[in-house]
Symmetry: C2
Subunit: 201 residues, 2 copies
């Protein structure tokens, strides 16, 4: 095969691919507020939500963040986001994890966070709401799943929502528009590497 | 079971979990520059790399980005990152995809991008290098895999690298410290939803 043949074949293949791509793009016409879920045991669930928040802020739209677990995002990231006046951030503060060891306090904190999320969903100016680590609160039954599902269903039609956290319940996946499983194929923690600045925090 | 019993059981369970967690953290002592791969057909590969870049910049470290395919990151995101003096960004410009339909030009562009990546890896000030969509260039054999593997292996020991793109070659996964597969469990494109501002671009 000559170089010319190869180049011609490549051109033909890519022209076909472009035609398929163009047809696919043309076939997509719906605009709607998406319910996106980032789940799985791999890295990148909150980091990708953080990237989305910045993309939306970069487009001049208002973004809300409710952090259901303390420390999932570093204060460095929070600082970066808070440089935008269009960001409204709420953290559970003390958060809940194995650190608090107080179930009643954890439930009260999860409840407050969810109520905050409901208030923000009612804000017609909001473009994106990040419910970071909400899946953890659902997993521990700190907030009833039915309440979360009906709250999400009743949100403004154009509002995008990202829910993050491991072990997303199936009923949430069922109603989501997009579900990405961040799957840990290999993780450096397993090889004894510690959390490092700029990577984990 | 009384509420007191339940609270006590919760406390005990969480205390155990915290002990496990603390032991795990104590067992991780290695510090090293990580080779991280974000692959799979789901969303969030580049978005999570973008989030990592911001985290590293937020920590005052220098970040390099080489974009192997045009348009993978929006100009909005690039603008956000370029607000940091500590960012060095290189894009292949015309990029390669089914858009160019010119294999020789694509190969030359991929080659230039890889040479740029090699130059940046030699910069001792660099904390993180993002090689966005490098996997695509490898998949099309535009850059020899062996050259990429030996280039990455020869980088400074403390330099973190993130490689993104679908279909990461197995030999790259084998030498990576961390591999996350962004798996598309469900994608709104399949339901006819178009790319929307603030989400896809």
């Amino acid at each position: 095969m000559t170089d010319e043949d190869d180049a011609a074949r490549h051109r033909e293949k890519m022209a076909k691919r472009k035609a398929v791509q163009d047809a696919e793009v043309a076939g997509k016409t719906i605009e709607k507020g998406l319910l996106m879920v980032h789940t799985g045991s791999g890295k990148g669930k909150s980091t990708a939500a953080f990237g989305l928040a910045l993309r939306m802020l970069g487009r001049g739209r208002k973004v809300g963040v409710v952090q259901f677990i303390k420390g999932a995002w570093s204060t460095g990231e929070r600082g970066l986001l808070e440089a935008y006046a269009m960001l409204e951030w709420h953290s559970m503060g003390e958060g809940f994890t194995w650190e608090t060891q107080d179930k009643a306090r954890d439930i009260a904190a999860a409840r407050r966070a969810w109520e905050q999320a409901m208030r923000m969903m009612a804000d017609p100016a909001l473009g994106l709401l990040v419910l970071d680590e909400l899946c953890i609160a659902l997993r521990y039954d700190y907030i009833p799943l039915e309440e979360v599902l009906s709250g999400l269903a009743a949100r403004p039609a154009a509002l995008h929502v990202v829910v993050t956290g491991r072990n997303a319940p199936q009923a949430l996946l069922d109603v989501a528009d997009t579900v990405t499983e961040m799957k840990a194929v290999k993780h450096h923690f397993a090889a004894g590497v510690k959390a490092q600045q700029g990577i984990e925090f």
